[in-house]
């Protein structure tokens, strides 16, 4: 089948090339040196920054997304709000990369509209604009696609919280807090954690947004890899492969945690 030939040529061989290349030395032969280098600076720091940005945006984006999704789905919220929110999230979750970075430069950059408004009209000096080009800035921008992704992923799980459970709990004398503590959250927990892992992977693999926003000054792993292929910096091609291999390992571990969570979450699905 041409399909299998294609996946071997352009999926398996490149992936294998990264894995093998990570363990090759410049002189030929195999070595652990490249992988060992990852645990030294500046590479260790790059992994730390990458993981930190991904974890912060996954947890904060996850919690905020959960709150917004629940606000749209709960009783008494008009039905149309939910469909508008899902449609809009579907589009907003796809806004990423270069255009998203530019949109935030226009909003919160040094001469951005919101920055100027805060300084000139409100005389607030909490936000100067240069912060947008630091790690905090990258996190704020990532939230723009993390939040809608969480809404999309978690909405079906919230739908699964049955109305009868809440009524049964209320009949037995449970307060709303007790309902959430003993029924709602335990049922939702696997879905929430699974969704947060997806968000983590989403941020961890991102390259274009941070590249465009900071022109490489926030050293996340994809930017280091990119810097190598754009010319200079590293003299050992296998180091780039080792960096890529490290990313692959982190994402594979996430996948291994994700699969059982997904299975547990499916237990309550309708």
């Amino acid at each position: 089948m041409p399909f299998f030939a294609y996946t071997i040529l352009f999926l398996f061989l490149p992936a294998g090339e990264v894995m093998l290349g990570a363990f090759k030395s410049v002189h030929g032969g195999y070595t652990m040196d490249n992988v060992r280098q990852l645990f030294h600076q500046p590479y260790l720091n790059a992994y730390k920054t990458s993981i930190e940005i991904s974890a912060v945006t996954a947890v904060l984006g996850g919690l905020a997304g959960l709150a917004v999704a629940y606000a749209a789905i709960r009783e008494r919220t008009p039905r149309w709000i939910r469909s508008v929110l899902t449609t809009f999230s579907g589009v907003a979750a796809n806004f990423g990369g270069i255009p998203l970075a530019m949109a935030f430069v226009a909003t919160l950059g040094t001469i951005g509209i919101a920055t100027q408004f805060m300084q000139n009209q409100l005389h607030l000096n909490v936000w100067q604009g240069y912060q947008l080009f630091t790690k905090t800035g990258v996190e704020i921008v990532y939230m723009y696609f993390q939040l809608p992704l969480m809404i999309l992923v978690i909405a079906p799980a919230i739908d699964g919280l049955r109305r009868e459970w809440r009524e049964a709990a209320a009949n037995l004398g449970a307060s709303p807090w007790q309902f959430w503590r003993y029924v709602g959250l335990p049922v939702l927990m696997p879905s929430i954690l699974g969704a947060m892992i997806l968000l983590f992977g989403n941020a961890f693999a991102a390259y274009a947004t941070a590249y465009s926003l900071t022109s490489g000054t926030v050293p996340i792993v994809p930017i280091l890899i990119g810097a190598y292929y754009q010319g200079n910096v590293l003299d050992n091609p296998h180091l780039a492969q080792a960096l890529a291999f490290g990313m692959f390992v982190v994402l594979a571990v996430m996948m291994i945690v994700y699969v059982p969570l997904q299975r547990r979450a499916a237990r309550w699905a309708k």
């Binding site: 352009f10 919220t77 806004f95 949109a103 226009a106 992704l149 693999a205 292929y229």
Partner: protein, 267 residues
């Protein structure tokens, strides 16, 4: 009891905050794009006219669009017969392919491009040095999960066996069956997959940047670095392309109750 009919205050607060966060950057970009390059004051459409009269804009958007078309054609040629064959003859293979479709999530574009660049450095230049070769080869893989899940859903909603038997008992060949009977029945799924592939290719930056092909997102980044106000105008146009692709997707998929999908290629 009247108040119980209304939305809970905390819910309203969250939704309002979310709406603000979603729309603020879009509105700010619009205001930004209307500023004059010379004075920094509102309002002029000079930035838009700069974009429209820029030769590189038309050149790169044409390249990206043609790349998207090529990706769509190759993906459909590759995946439609395969998924048809799997549904008809070897349903055991379906989980295997579904698993393969998850691999591009674990191997993100930045990792994939490292492998591809190292592997095909010595390849003939008609492949390696041309976006129509190297880049499309990578984009078909990026599009694979989206194409697969949308086509798979399409094939599951039709009765492949009955349609094939009916067509063949009337004397149709395999090719005729596929093109004249199966394809019209999965048209919506194929279109949905194609719109997703279009959105991926029009926004993909990572692979194009590392292999140095000048596509539309690279032009966008170049303008970002050099011209602030026209960059905002261009950003809105790029968002419009994503909007159009995603809304067409929702429109096509409405009959089957499909929701939107998230394309991770553009990050």
């Amino acid at each position: 009891m009247r108040s119980r009919r209304f939305i809970a205050p905390s819910a309203a607060l969250w939704l309002l905050a979310a709406a603000l966060y979603f729309f603020l950057p879009l509105v700010a970009t619009l205001l930004f794009s209307l500023k004059s390059n010379a004075t920094g004051k509102c309002c002029t459409i000079a930035s838009y006219s700069w974009v429209i009269h820029n030769g590189d804009f038309w050149h790169t958007i044409k390249i990206s669009f043609l790349l998207a078309l090529e990706t769509i054609v190759i993906s459909l040629l590759l995946f439609v017969p395969t998924i048809y064959w799997v549904h008809l003859k070897v349903p055991r293979l379906r989980p295997v392919i579904a698993f393969l479709a998850l691999i591009p999530f674990v191997v993100p574009p930045i990792v994939m491009v490292v492998g591809l660049l190292n592997l095909y450095r010595g390849a003939p230049s008609w492949f390696y040095a041309q976006p129509w070769g190297f880049l499309v080869a990578a984009y078909v893989i990026l599009a694979f999960p989206y194409m697969f899940f949308s086509l798979d859903a399409g094939f599951r909603s039709i009765d492949v066996h009955t349609l094939t038997e009916a067509s063949q008992s009337l004397g149709a060949s395999w090719a005729t069956t596929l093109v004249k009977v199966i394809l019209p029945n999965i048209r919506a799924a194929a279109l949905a997959g194609s719109f997703l592939a279009l959105a991926i290719v029009m926004g993909e930056f990572t692979i194009a940047n590392l292999s140095a092909f000048h596509t539309f997102p690279l032009f966008l980044q170049y303008v970002n670095e050099t011209q602030a106000y026209p960059a905002a105008a261009l950003t809105l146009m790029s968002f419009a392309i994503t909007w159009a692709a995603m809304l067409s997707l929702l429109f096509v998929g409405r009959k089957r109750g499909a929701r939107g999908a998230v394309v991770t290629g553009a990050r």
